[in-house]
């Protein structure tokens, strides 16, 4: 059976070495999926919306003085 991605492999009684190995595996897992679009990743349209919100807010600050 395949192990789900990003799920810690070991149980609650890990030694320090096992913990560090697990951390390394989780870091590697993140790196492996770095270039792929991840679930819940902000899209271009959302960044544009953020930019518009910032620009409009600052413009209103200047206009409403």
């Amino acid at each position: 059976m395949m192990k789900p991605k990003n799920v810690p492999a070991a149980g609650p009684d890990m030694s320090l070495q096992e913990f560090e190995a697990e951390r390394d595996r989780v870091c590697g897992d993140f790196a492996d999926h770095e270039l792929a679009k991840q679930p819940g990743q902000l899209g271009r349209s959302e960044y544009v919306l953020v930019g518009i919100l910032l620009a409009v807010s600052f413009a209103l600050v200047l206009l409403l003085q």
């Binding site: 870091c27 919100l53 910032l54």
Partner: protein, 481 residues
């Protein structure tokens, strides 16, 4: 040791499957963080600068600007990687630089906030007792210290239990607090029309120019937005993904803080006091007032719990070699002793709240500008997680002696620009302040200097891992913190 528990406490990236907070849970957490007596005090300080209509505009616009920028700087990367905020900061400042920033931005300020919020809790309880006993509240009474210590102890108890208990506390208290705010606004409108409330004049105007007064009000609110910088990264990392880490900031912090500030602003002008714990008794009736006052008191506890949790997570990771043998619970207890000592050593801390808040913006605005430039422009949103946890020269984020001097220089430049542009103590300002604000200018200048320094000196020398995200060959174990 349990990986998930250790990751929750900052020693490893938290995998998405192990993160506790969805969209609304994080929204409530943010609201619980934002709604506290500090919101009322910020609103009240606006009453000394602008009228209600301009104050409300400044609250909304300032919070949108501050909260969105801070969210871009720390929440998106935290939601993506699930990494503790100050561990992530190693990619910008280096390992030792990150420790330095943590010490300045987190320990000193968190201790200050715990004292301020604890005192606010004490005063709220004092007001509630006064309402029942039909006596005058005494905000400077000696027993306020005792109640403040109880508040800090209660906060320590909640945080010692971990983020699950914070989540439960937030989910109960935050929605109730929003109802309480709504009730207060209803009180405002019970004997005045909306038009009358909006027409209320400022208590004073420090400058003849309405434009400058408005800009000072906006600046205070941007500062309030930036003041979340040290905390929301370590809260965002508990969320499921980037989107969940980012947008709730605007709803939870932006909306909730605006609501609290609006109550403080109108209360200050209408009743002569920004703090509802002082005017609720006169307007809300005895028992209703007591209930509201107790809720306001506990609002401070939720804020304290959230900031203490983020501080301890960072402390454990930044100084892991010092505290590796200390349990989470004892670290929480040990940390909480410091604000108790500071409360007696610096009795004027509470009264200097607003100055304290705006000075913090000088640091956080610079840090925000630098982090945005580094993560979006220089790194294109890619960081090598494994190297963040490697101590010493083998880490690609070691920079020079563990410091990225470009980031430190840019931070200093941002702080200098801020203080030249606007003095939070006297409100003295330069001519261009009304067009730039101090916070936004400091963020832009710090970001620009950081970019220039990086492009000219850091990246060409192969420092900071900007050319690639190489896999480290360092052995696991002894060198990894």
């Amino acid at each position: 040791m349990d990986y998930t528990v250790e990751a929750e406490r900052g020693r490893a990236p938290l995998p998405p499957s192990k993160r506790l907070w969805g969209f609304w849970e994080y929204t409530w957490a943010n609201a619980a963080l934002a709604i506290a007596t500090w919101g009322f005090l910020i609103g009240g300080s606006l009453a000394l600068v602008v009228d209600v209509k301009n104050g409300l505009l400044a609250i909304v616009l300032g919070n949108v600007l501050g909260v969105l920028l801070v969210g871009l700087a720390v929440s998106i990367s935290a939601g993506k990687y699930g990494t503790e905020q100050y561990t992530f900061l190693r990619s910008v400042f280096g390992h030792n630089g990150s420790r330095l920033i943590y010490t300045i931005a987190m320990i000193l300020l968190t201790v200050g906030w715990l004292v301020v919020l604890g005192t606010m809790f004490g005063r709220s309880i004092d007001s509630a007792i006064s309402v029942i006993g039909d006596t005058e509240p005494d905000p400077n009474a000696g027993y306020i210290y005792l109640i403040t210590i109880v508040a800090i102890a209660l906060t320590a108890f909640i945080v010692a239990k971990g983020p699950t208990s914070i989540k439960v506390f937030n989910t109960i208290v935050a929605p109730a607090l929003i109802l309480v705010m709504g009730f207060m606004i209803w009180l405002f409108l019970s004997d005045s029309s909306l038009a009358e409330v909006l027409a209320l004049e400022a208590l004073s105007k420090p400058f003849d120019s309405d434009a400058v007064n408005f800009m000072i009000a906006v600046e205070i609110n941007i500062a309030a937005g930036f003041s979340w910088w040290p905390y929301i990264g370590n809260l965002s990392r508990i969320t499921k993904n980037e989107r969940t880490a980012f947008w709730p900031n605007l709803i939870g912090i932006g909306f909730a803080a605006s609501l609290g500030e609006a109550v403080g602003l109108i209360g200050a002008i209408k009743y002569g006091n920004a703090d509802p714990t002082q005017w609720m008794a006169e307007t809300g009736g005895v028992w209703l007032s007591v209930i509201v006052l107790v809720f306001i008191a506990f609002a401070n506890i939720t804020s304290m719990a959230n900031i203490l949790y983020t501080a301890i997570v960072g402390l454990r990771q930044m100084f892991s070699s010092w505290f590796s043998k200390v349990s989470w619970e004892w670290l929480v207890v040990g940390f909480c002793i410091v604000p108790v000592i500071v409360m007696f050593a610096v009795p004027g801390l509470y009264d200097g709240f607003m100055t304290f808040l705006v000075w913090t913006a000088a640091i956080y605005s610079a840090l925000t500008g630098i982090m945005i430039v580094d993560y979006y422009w220089l790194r294109r949103q890619h960081v090598d997680l494994k190297n963040l946890f490697i101590e010493g020269k083998t880490s690609i984020y070691y920079f020079t002696g563990g410091f990225n001097f470009g980031a430190l220089a840019a931070t200093l430049a941002g702080i200098v620009i801020f203080t030249i542009t606007f003095n939070p103590l006297t409100f003295e300002h330069t001519a261009y302040f009304r067009y730039t604000t101090a916070s936004l200018l400091a963020a832009v200048v710090a970001g620009a200097i950081y970019w220039i320094f990086s492009v000219l000196f850091v990246i060409p020398r192969g420092l900071g891992g900007y050319h690639a995200t190489p896999k480290t060959n360092a052995p696991l174990g002894a060198e990894i913190s």
